[in-house]
Amino acid sequence: MEIDDHKLDLVDLYQRYNTDPKRGLSYSEAQKAFNRDGPNALSSSKTKPEWIKFCRHMFGYFEFLLWIGAILCFITHGFEVVTYHEDASSDNLWLGIALIVIVIVTGSFSYFQDAKCSRIVDSFKSMVPPQALIIRDGELTNIRTEELVVGDIVTIKFGDRVPADIRILESHGFKVDNSFLTGESEPQSRSPEFTNDNVLETKNLAFFSTFATDGFPATVTICLTLTAKRLAKKNCLVKNLEAVETLGSTSIICADKIGTLTQNRMTVAHMWFDNQIVEADTSEYQQNATYNGTIPGWLALTRCAILCNRADFKQDPENLAQPVLQRQCYGDESEAALLKCVELSIGNVINFREINRKVCEIPFNSTNKYQVSIHEVYTDNNSEVDSRPYLLVMKGAPEHILERCSSIYIDGTDVEINDYWRNAFNQAYMKLGSLGERVLGFCDLRLSSDDHPKGYQFNEEQVNFPLDNLRFLGLMSMIDPLRVAVPEAIAKCRSAGIKVIMVTGDHPITAKPISRAAGIISQDTETVEDIAERAGVSLEEVNPRDAKACVIHGNDLKAMSPAEIDALLENHPEIVFARTSPQQKITVVEGCKRQGAIVAMIGDGVNDLPAMKKADIGIAMGITGSDMNREVADMVLLDDNFASIVTGVEQGRLIFDNLKKSIAYMLTSNIPKMTPFLMYFLMGIPLALGTSTILFIDLLTIISAISLVYEEAETDIMKKPPRNPKHDRLVNKRLILMTHGPIGFIQAAAGLFTYFSIMAENGFLPSRLFGLRKSWESKYVNDLQDSYNREWTYEQRKQLEFTCQSAFFIAIVICQWAVLIICKTRRNSILEQGMKNRILNGVLIFEIILVAIVSYMPCLGTALNIYPVKFRWWLPALFSAFLILIYDEVRKHLIRQHPGGWLERQTYF
């Protein structure tokens, strides 16, 4: 298809698509275009039809082998029929049918599991639908990108995802990431100019972004999807399934401050008036007030805060219907915080402003560091109004405000400012500042009618009103408060051996108190500065090694060599990086990675993006995060709750533990399965375990192993340090030794004991069995003698052999029963863990029922060569199962008693 949209003149372009740059498309036109072109999405041509997916599960590698086996069975049966006619045995026919049934059952099972998984993953995608801000019918509206049509006018801001292929009409410093299209890793600038005939090269086109996904083996997908689903319920959206596991091994979490640890919403925290600091009450119903709401000092302060304030609520009814704290405001965020505070405590702010009309205003600027406005005073007392008709209110940087004041309003009276009051002011200012709060000073002055009579023309240019000798009212301090669950979550991370590092663009002054409040720097650890202050010495005299915590300024970080950064990260368990640029955030993440840590980076802003990409796992905030963040992230916290990360880590660890348990369980049946064959070939003992029984053991093992995925976490899951990805792999030496060593051999012993006892009770004493293979397997020997000189035909001794094999099979199943129970825990006692995994309990019952059916049901047993087994032959296995339980409980007990001991190092997998 030839594209010339980028070559056209803009006017021609508007005409072609019947649109207008200011008004956009009309709704009816957009609807028409939508019906014509369909949704704005990549056609999913790659999705395969369901029947092909089904066939893939029916003809996988393992399934293919079974099909071949089945076909061979039928062919053999065919030969038998041709040779023996009606005398032909139907063993092979039955085995073939059994194989096909197994293929179909397991194939359907994995197909349905897979379909379920992909449905869940698909549903994740629709949980954060990408949106686009467009102009339609002259209004800015948010719509889902799929609803975009050709001709829509789209507005894009920093961090947004390009919602469609677009022609640029106007732009300002616009850059796009084209890496997936052209492989260019640097962002490419885009502008309205037509620069190149090539569609990809020209600067006035930007393209819809896509991303690719990868596949996993089916079982792992099932585990990961189950966990992802569990996490989604807790508002933790996993975009990249692998991320679940990565999160589990995370050892360092780097968190941005604003919007991640804090609410990104300035709130008034403290006030200072009448020479006392009070906590501001920002609860919805003012139930937390620690001060009397009628005292004059407070009233004067709030009046100043109401009037000297340019912030306002957005005036749409939907916004106004919300609780005050969640309303959207116009204006500066500090002013919005003041507005919300006074709206909550006094109420009716807008009305109060209307009756106290503003007549003049000097807005805040960085040279003045104050803001002044003059209002007509409205009171019931007319003489008061006549004598002093105007009120001047001022707010700004506290020290500057105080300089302009000559008196201070204390307990309803004006007191002249002296050194005592200056000292009191300074102490309060310092105190609030040290809490990391942004402090504002307030003062006012009633202008007398002598100089400023009613109707006086105030002029902000000439400043024909006094700005000195004002009356100081008090201080109000604001803070971006911590999210509620953050300190608890950080404490949990710490007990789970995860280091939390704050990386913020904020000043060290604000970052440090917040990090203390959050617990990133814990209460009893000190920074170099703290030690210096406590000991009263200069910073240089303090040994940096004494300080466990540190706050690093971005500029210092810039000057450090990688080795210095490594040393810094190693020596300080509690670190805050303040005033960091996006580039320095990368430096921090890289430094952590150099230490061999698995790093998670949490952020909500575009400035966190590069670091999020660099980290092993990027986590974005769902509500406050930008589109780009959510796009790049491996995981999205839908409710912006930091505590969800702890859940994520727990689930990630759980999945790893459970996969380990599954694998351990699956491996334990290897030795008992191999032993009969080894003894058959090396010692000539008739085969103790047949092919069909092995097939059954494998089938049961797979089903049971999956049930371990549903196992609950052990109590220590969040108390142990994160795993070392280099040494603690999914399948490690200890796991292999543990499963193949003790457990495997107990099972083999159980099976062999059963085998030998059945043989002995039927006349073949163990001594007779050694080296018997050749005659035993010979069809021509029709009178094989047992230890009592009885003579067995080939068919009769095969009957005996199959009975032994059935008993061996049952013995393994019973032992695997115990193994499944011991695999539920790696360290805890099973008594502590309990039997709460319903699926696992179901599997235990299912196994016994299946074994009983296969063994005791007449037709089925004959078909599969599995014969009924006397109850007494179950007993050795039951005893061994008990032995396995005891052995492993003792082992785990010793591991718990001697943490880090020899047994743990050798057998804790």
Binding site: E761, N762, V781, N782, D783, Y788, R790, W792, E795, T803
Partner: protein, 319 residues
């Protein structure tokens, strides 16, 4: 539309090979380090002390496990009955849900010279001088030896329940059991089953071939060609039984039943048998022979060889 991509330049084969070699070397080094780490004196990731500790643990574990195994097995064995297995007759695995208890038949001579030999083929080669070369693999001597060996048991005359066939015709060691003159004698016997007594009184025969044997108070034994062709090629058959010789069927007296296991060990149990001699086999033809016994509680099954036995005869010379 031309997509311009910054694809990686194609690496030359040499570069690729160098890459490959360095990767392999790295892996080999890691592996080598794992197998023997000179720095820490570790073999397979453990030094001598840790290996010996681990070995000691597993040694103790396996000694205990093996000890338990042997102990329990020997206790179990000592509780087994001495003279006969715990499970006999219908309790034992000689029967199953689908297969009733019936003894099989077996024959002598039965030998194998190679692993894959068909052990049910009795082939008689020429001893003519002109065919001397072929007789290098003559099996006749071996058949004779096999029969001599088997019959040793019956030479013990101290037994109270002796089994002897007085009229054996050619079927003795002196006459080479007829093998040297192309009239082979085959010994047919019933498998020993402890406690099994054939019910001969209610013999119910449904096959016309057996009708000739009805009325014989003992267990009748009959051999004939498996298929019609074999029957035509087989020629005359003579049966030498305890009760005398017949050309219709052999017979086995039920007074020899039941076998009682090792109780009879002292006076070695002599299992009853019948000689079957094939008088004039058609040479150069492979003949399949099926022998059967008949009793009310012997349930014939051709494939399972219950109450029957099959073997093949091949005569490689003219008489």
């Amino acid at each position: 539309m031309h997509l311009k991509t910054k694809s990686k330049q194609r690496r030359s084969i040499r570069e690729w090979y160098q890459d490959f070699r360095s990767t392999i070397n790295k892996h080999l080094h890691t592996l080598g380090n794992f197998i023997y780490n000179q720095e820490h004196y570790e073999i397979f990731g453990r030094d001598g002390k840790r290996w010996s500790k681990l070995a000691a643990f597993y040694f103790c574990f396996y000694v205990v496990l093996g000890g338990f195994f042997c102990l329990y097995l020997s206790i179990f064995m000592s509780l087994l009955p001495l003279h006969q297995p715990r499970y006999i007759g219908n309790d034992s695995r000689l029967t199953s849900r689908n297969n009733p208890l019936s003894p099989g038949l077996s024959f002598r001579p039965q030998t194998s010279f190679h692993l894959n030999d068909v052990q049910t083929l009795i082939s008689l080669s020429s001893n003519d001088k002109e065919n001397q070369k072929e007789s290098t693999n003559d099996k006749t001597e071996i058949y004779i030896k096999n029969l001599d060996e088997y019959l040793k048991v019956y030479n013990n005359t101290q037994s109270s329940k002796n089994f002897t066939i007085h009229d054996v015709g050619d079927c003795n060691s002196i006459n080479h059991y007829g093998y040297k003159n192309g009239k082979p004698c085959i010994l047919i016997k019933i498998n020993k089953l402890i406690g099994f007594i054939p019910e001969v009184n209610r013999t119910d025969v449904d096959n016309k071939h057996e009708s000739e044997c009805i009325g014989i108070p003992n267990i009748p034994v009959r051999c004939m060609g498996e298929y019609l062709f074999d029957q035509e090629m087989l020629g005359n058959v003579i049966y030498y039984s305890e009760s005398g010789s017949s050309d219709v069927c052999g017979s086995i007296d039920i007074k020899h039943f039941p076998y009682n296991g090792k109780k009879n060990r002292n006076n070695v149990y002599q299992a009853p048998y019948v000689w079957v001699q094939f008088q004039n086999i058609t040479p150069y033809v492979l003949i399949s022979v099926e022998c059967r016994i008949f009793a009310a509680n012997i349930f014939y099954d051709k494939i399972a060889q219950r109450g029957s036995i099959r073997f093949q005869l091949y005569l490689n010379k003219k008489i």
